[in-house]
């Protein structure tokens, strides 16, 4: 297990790479979901006004 996380001494580079990629890909999904929620709220307000 320790060996796995150590990545043959390259832990810093391997795990930062995977960490940043994970962060950006997850953030992209969350941003898209938040925008969808926001737009839906605006559209609901719009239809309540009319």
């Amino acid at each position: 297990m320790k060996e796995f996380f150590d990545m043959g001494g390259y832990a810093f580079f391997v795990w930062w790479s995977y960490g940043i990629v994970t962060f950006v890909m997850v953030a992209n999904v969350i941003v898209a979901k938040m925008k969808r929620k926001r737009i839906f709220k605006q559209l609901q307000e719009l239809s309540e006004e009319s």
């Binding site: 390259y10 790479s17 559209l43 239809s47």
Partner: protein, 246 residues
């Protein structure tokens, strides 16, 4: 052809047919990512020269491929938007630019993190790295132009022109490792003779590349669907959708 484009590009019909695609692509992405990461970390052996550090390849190369693939998707929708004035294509330009920019940034960052232990430096101003950085700025330009006008359709037109002109950068990136001397290694997979990579390393690489592709398509559908609703807010079908889903 034109009939096809007009049918699938009509905002209402697009919103309907894209839902199933988005769902399935999301499921496939999760499965592929799981399989690809397992293969990449637990099945593929360490490299005989680079040790464990080469495992960055399973995200670096897919991200770099996607940075160019997304650009082509964006440029082709630019052509469709300019020629046929398809609203959905206009939206796709802006939405794919955001995703493309993040893949380009990831390709650059993972490349730097791989370059440091292997080349001894995070960055060199060589042709491959510089042209990929130019690609990032092209994406920024497209995003900025897309949102720079009062009328989003004018913005889409301007962004489309920049996207199309910027295609010139894609072959430069692809062949930069052959045309100029560089620290960056030449292509190992996308070349005419057999890929010079063992099958146990090639499988996770290709699976991850496919996973990134389905991820992109699912996210592009999701983002485009939201924007279609926002742009068509006065259409009666949008009101029906909002009533149904709330």
């Amino acid at each position: 052809m034109m009939q096809f484009i007009h049918k699938y590009g009509s905002p209402k019909y697009f919103y309907q047919w894209s839902y199933g695609w988005q769902r399935w692509l999301t499921v496939i992405t999760v499965l592929l990512l799981g399989f690809g990461l397992y293969q990449g970390f637990f099945v593929a052996p360490p490299d005989y020269q680079q040790g464990e550090s080469y495992r960055i390849i399973f995200i670096h190369v897919p991200a770099a491929w996607m940075s160019m693939f997304v650009y082509m998707v964006m440029a082709v929708s630019g052509i469709v938007a300019l020629v046929w004035r398809i609203k959905v294509a206009e939206i796709v330009i802006g939405e794919s630019a955001v995703i493309g920019a993040s893949f380009t940034a990831l390709a650059l960052i993972t490349g730097m993190l791989w370059g440091k232990p292997m080349w001894g430096t995070y960055w060199v101003w060589d042709a491959r790295l510089t042209s990929e950085l130019v690609l990032l700025f092209l994406y920024f330009g497209v995003i900025a132009l897309h949102g720079a006008f009062e009328d989003p359709r004018t913005g889409a037109k301007a962004a489309a022109i920049l996207a199309i002109v910027g295609i010139i950068n894609i072959p430069i990136i692809k062949y930069s490792v052959e045309w100029w001397s560089t620290l960056h290694q030449p292509a190992t997979v996308a070349k005419f003779d057999k890929p010079s990579m063992h099958i146990s390393m090639l499988i996770p690489l290709l699976v991850m590349a496919l996973a990134f592709k389905t991820y992109f398509m699912a996210l592009l559908f999701a983002r485009t669907r939201t924007e279609v609703l926002a742009r068509e807010k006065n259409a009666s079908w949008v009101k029906e959708v909002v009533e149904q889903e709330s």
